[in-house]
């Protein structure tokens, strides 16, 4: 069981618990504003872009080249940017906070 917090552009906070799937699926299921997940998680749309809280960023597996290339062209990119369809739910991310980028 992992607790995941999303903070939207307008400053609203959404908290959920999950055991499987990824951070995009969880957000889409709960209609978190700003995370659309258009491509269903195959890394083709960048509508799941988030900024991961710095203390958690380093704990995650590094993004793949495909993900990094995708982020290179997106708006509002920071050094903590990730496509959250590429972050699986696991104990590793328990307590994670992510800010929705767009």
């Amino acid at each position: 069981m992992a607790k995941i917090t999303y903070i939207t552009k307008s400053g609203e906070t959404f908290e959920y618990e999950a055991t499987s799937g990824n951070l995009m699926e969880l957000a889409v299921k709960n209609k978190v504003p700003g995370i659309d997940g258009d491509c269903g998680g195959v890394c083709s749309c960048a509508t799941c872009h988030v900024h991961v809280a710095p203390e958690f960023y380093g704990k995650l597996d590094a993004p793949s080249e495909i993900e990094s290339d995708m982020l290179e062209f997106d708006d509002n990119v920071s050094e903590y940017s990730r496509l959250c369809c590429q972050i699986p739910v696991s104990d590793l991310v328990d307590g994670i906070k992510v800010e929705v980028a767009n």
Binding site: D36, D38, G40, V42, C43, S44, D69, F73
Partner: protein, 386 residues
Amino acid sequence: MGISDFPDAFKGTRETKGVCPFNDQNDPVAMLLRFKDVRKAAHDYKSFISGAKPGRIVVPSEVNIRETRQIPFEVDPPEHTEYRALVEDWFKRPLQPEYEAGLERIVESELERVLRKGSIEVISELSLPIQSKALTLLLNIPMEEAKTWISWGVHVFRSEDSDLDGEKAAILYDYIDAEIDKVIENPDDSLYGVLLNSEYQGRKMTKEEVKGVLILTFAGGRDTVINYLTNTLAYLAEHPEALRQLEDNPELVNTAIEELVRYFSPLTHMGRVVAKEKEVCGHTAKEDTRISLCWASANRDEGVFENPNEVVLDRKMNPHIAFGFGTHKCLGATHARQLMKVFLRVLTKKVESIEIIDAQENIEDWGAHQRKVGFDSLQIELNPKK
């Protein structure tokens, strides 16, 4: 080679040169073929503009048969941003459960109709009716209207022997003019009505602007969706195991719809006009000449996709650009994806097997390269589930 194989037409030139020259009506186009170059150029809307003379970014160019600017397609930021914001939410309606249920009713009744016949020509008897009826949902108008569009036949914007037939195109333009006038008389909650009521830069949208959005909605969503549906049926006919995998594992649909659109890339490429001279992939793109973004070639780039010429229905990493990339990425993608999801679901439920009887390929001619994009006709036999 199977009927549902779609060869990578651009491989050699993509790997050796990266750019393919194509002469179109004395307004040449340099086609960009590599994934990275295509994405980069699509992102660089300041150097490579869409807001040129109406019709010019389309290949073959439509400057001689169209004056209306297609919106938001032939507009650049910042104007593009405001136009697009006006319609963005409308084009996300396909995510609503009622919309999905509406698509399901359409696909079910169309499939039941052809299953009773057994043997059909897919494009005219199935893909065109489904595409047309589904479009009534997107426009939020009575389904009756689809009859008119179906009666135009597949080649509304092109005649059989010419890609650019002004008289054919006029049928659509006159139809849209008349529909807009009707809604001005009797306002409603269709896309026409909503647009006529929208404000752009603090004033009402003009008739010409509304027409520009609607021409695009009709044109952009017709051949693309028809090829997406038809090619998918050809694929499933030759891969009965895929039909069963999709049935046994409903989750597979999510990656399958992305993989099928990557593999078929129903829109081969789209042009841009060079605003300021720039080097791309060793080619000097001179001011006021054209380049094009070849989505179809980029989607087979071996540097990005493993086994690019295979359909891998559960491909996990699939950064395809079949729906474009960046500023102008496809507005109709939500509709197209939802339609394909529903189509696969209903098909696997109702159909036992599909046999191909006859196929005439539709081959596009891009100078040095010939690309199969779909079929001119596809005759199949559908066997229902007991």
